[in-house]
């Protein structure tokens, strides 16, 4: 009843090609963005429930936004281009560490040339974006094997990147500015003279990043490039036959995906953790991101958000519920139960809807269109 598009006529091509052709969708999105951009800061400013403490902001919304951004990156590669990657954690690490290096100043002494390359500490915003760029370059490099290796073989091959960079950031102390423990601290988050310190400022920063990239990616995948990716995903030989260059399509997918993952990695390190070690970007992170994408829905930006929320928040909820209800269980049992229930829910979801939440949402929309008279 509410969700009818009857009477919404499209009179120009531009209207027909809009991202959200249905007015109700636009309104819903507007409300969502309004809540995110205005509602949350307002509530947090006045300490209104549920923002009385920073828990929700610092421990849930912040990681959610950053991981959703990373999930969008993974989705480009896995969901749109069909190249399974288990190395996303490594690309987050590359983004984080190169942003750290650029943010604290790079100094490469070339003694045999009697010359040193020195870059003064760059502004944080630039450092984060350049960190993403570095990740993109490395992504292209590790994307080259994808021209020959396919499917699950490729997935395992991308683990080479994962383990290699885990090692590099542990062993090469240049990356950690020779910190004795190998754990590094993010520089102060200074954006054009504005110091981003409080949880709500950090939240807004991530929100701006995520929104900007989501819009960018949404437009990218609707365009020429996105169509090339999807053609490669659906059948690469057929795509090649109709004139799509696999080299160009696959490597751009690797580049764009790694760029976004790299930026997310830099945010994760700078904004969320503040101080980190390579273990923060281990294989578990890669698997977690892949989960978000698959549970959320391959090839869906919206799905990346829902998937990230589900994978991130569900374990926390499962862990919280027994203590809050006062069920006398030991932490040990609760965590084991959390594992079992989490695993079961994932299997259940995959069985019920192998295409993830994105598919559920579109089915929901179809039903809503007919509601309340489904005939």
């Amino acid at each position: 009843m509410l969700y009818r598009e009857a009477g919404q006529f499209k009179t120009t091509y531009a209207e027909d090609m809009a991202i959200f052709p249905i007015r109700q969708d636009r309104i819903a999105l507007g409300i969502l963005l309004g809540i995110a951009f205005i509602g949350v800061p307002l509530l947090a400013d006045f300490d209104i429930w549920p923002f009385g403490s920073d828990y929700l902001l610092r421990a849930i919304l912040l990681p959610f936004l950053i991981l959703a951004l990373a999930a969008i990156g993974v989705n480009i590669l896995v969901g749109y281009c069909g190249q399974i990657s288990l190395g996303s954690g490594a690309f987050m690490a590359i983004g984080a560490y190169s942003a750290y290096k650029l943010g604290t100043g790079v100094h490469i002494p070339l003694t045999w040339l009697d010359f040193a390359i020195s870059i003064p500490p760059l502004p944080v915003l630039l450092a984060i974006l350049l960190g993403g760029l570095t990740a993109a370059v490395v992504g292209i490099l590790f994307g080259i094997p994808s021209l020959r290796i396919k499917g699950l073989y490729l997935a395992v091959a991308t683990l080479a990147a994962q383990f290699f960079f885990d090692w590099v950031f542990l062993r090469v102390s240049w990356f950690t500015n020779y910190a004795p423990s190998g754990s590094v601290n993010a520089p102060t988050l200074d954006f054009f003279g504005l110091n981003v310190g409080t949880p709500i400022e950090r939240y807004m920063l991530c929100l701006i990043f995520v929104t900007a990239f989501a819009v960018l990616v949404k437009n990218l995948v609707r365009g020429n490039l996105g169509r090339q990716w999807m053609a490669i995903r659906d059948m690469d030989i057929a795509a090649e036959l109709i004139g799509i260059r696999p080299l160009y399509a696959k490597l751009t997918a690797f580049a764009v995906s790694s760029f976004i993952i790299g930026v997310a990695g830099a945010l994760w390190a700078f904004v969320y953790l503040g101080s980190w070690e390579p273990l923060a970007f281990s294989i578990d992170r890669s698997l977690q991101l892949l989960f978000m994408v698959i549970i959320g829905g391959l090839g869906s930006i919206m799905g990346s958000f829902v998937g990230a929320a589900f994978i991130l928040i569900l374990p926390i909820l499962l862990n919280l519920i027994p203590t809050q209800l006062g069920v006398p269980l030991s932490t040990e049992t609760i965590t084991h139960l959390e594992f079992i229930i989490f695993g079961s829910l994932i299997c259940f979801l995959l069985i019920k809807e192998p295409h993830g939440f994105a598919r559920l949402i579109s089915i929901g929309k179809e039903k809503l269109r007919l509601w309340p008279f489904p005939y």
Binding site: L152, F339, G343, I346, L350, I351
Partner: protein
């Protein structure tokens, strides 16, 4: 200069530990061959089998059973547990997911990993339990030829011996028995197999059971090596490069892949790692796998992928 004795020692040690990885990789191959599922849960299955074995052993010995009887009963109990697990997985996860794409199936096995890890530790405990089924000391060979001799760990020899028996047994099973032939038929094309009357869910149960038993065997060896504890699940990550070097569908490939990975990573770690800071064997195995895949994209013995429009 690298002494010949040391090189041989590292080479032999590497080949041997490679075979131990193969024990875990075999479970992956079995399931992939028969159902196209890349079973990430193999590591968790090793943990479950190991915990079931070691906990029942402790209990039986405490009840006064003689050790040999306790071992037989313990292995029997663990096998039953693996059978139940196989049935549950087939019935509730893999069965309903038939015909889904490889990635979905892969993710569902990660879900299974969570369930198995949680359940195994909840039921059997999350401590480190010592298991001593095989000797773990070493022989020193050719002591007259090389100073200090060449060290060969007895456990590794046992592991190699067991892996040999396992591969031979699996080969006979696949080639000679009726179920084995049915398995191969299902692996080739499960729809065609079903249409000639092969009960597909039974076959899948058999495959998961076989993988569970392989996990049990791996657990006896690795449990002796490490003690049965959660970290045993990390073996899955050591088995993956072995698996793709050999090819996802080849049982001998798992052994050959194990030998290549084991020897390669140990030699790299000892002779190259000391110059660049050490700790390189984890990624070296994967880089080795990547290099092999660039030459042969389906692994050394994997089935050639033929794509048609």
């Amino acid at each position: 200069m690298i002494a010949l004795g040391q090189f041989l020692e590292v080479l032999i040690g590497g080949l041997m530990s490679g075979v131990l990885y193969s024990l875990v990789a075999l479970g992956f191959v079995l399931i992939f061959k028969a159902s196209g599922v890349f079973n990430f849960a193999q590591g968790a299955m090793v943990l479950l089998a190991g915990l079931a074995l070691v906990r029942s052993l402790d209990l039986l010995v405490a009840w006064g059973f003689p050790v040999w009887a306790a071992i037989i009963l313990g292995i029997g109990f663990a096998a039953v547990i693996m059978a139940i697990t196989a049935w549950l997985i087939e019935r509730f996860v893999i069965g309903p997911l038939v015909n889904q794409d490889a990635l979905t199936l892969f993710m569902s096995t990660i879900g299974v990993t969570f369930i198995l890890e949680g359940a195994a530790q909840m039921i059997f405990g999350s401590d480190a339990y010592p298991l001593r089924l095989f000797p773990t000391d070493a022989w020193f060979l050719f002591e007259n030829l090389f100073p200090g001799g060449i060290l060969v760990n007895k456990l590794d020899v046992w592991g190699g011996f067991i892996a040999g028996i396992l591969v031979a047994g699996l080969a006979i099973f696949f080639e000679r028995t009726k179920t084995g032939r049915a398995l191969r038929a299902v692996a080739d094309d499960h729809l065609a197999a079903q249409s000639v009357g092969i009960p597909i869910s039974w076959i899948w149960f058999v495959v998961w059971l076989a993988a569970g038993l392989v996990a049990l065997v791996a657990a006896t060896v690795w449990g002796t090596k490490l003690g049965v504890q959660f970290s045993i699940t990390f073996l899955a990550l050591k088995a993956l490069p072995v698996l793709i070097i050999g090819g996802l569908t080849s049982i001998p490939g798992a052994i050959v892949g194990g030998l290549i990975v084991g020897a390669g990573e140990k030699i790299a770690e000892v002779f190259l790692g000391s110059h660049i800071g050490g700790g390189i064997e984890y990624w070296f195995a994967y880089v080795l796998a990547l290099a092999v895949l660039l030459v042969r994209p389906q692994g050394l013995f994997g089935e050639r992928i033929i794509e048609r429009i």
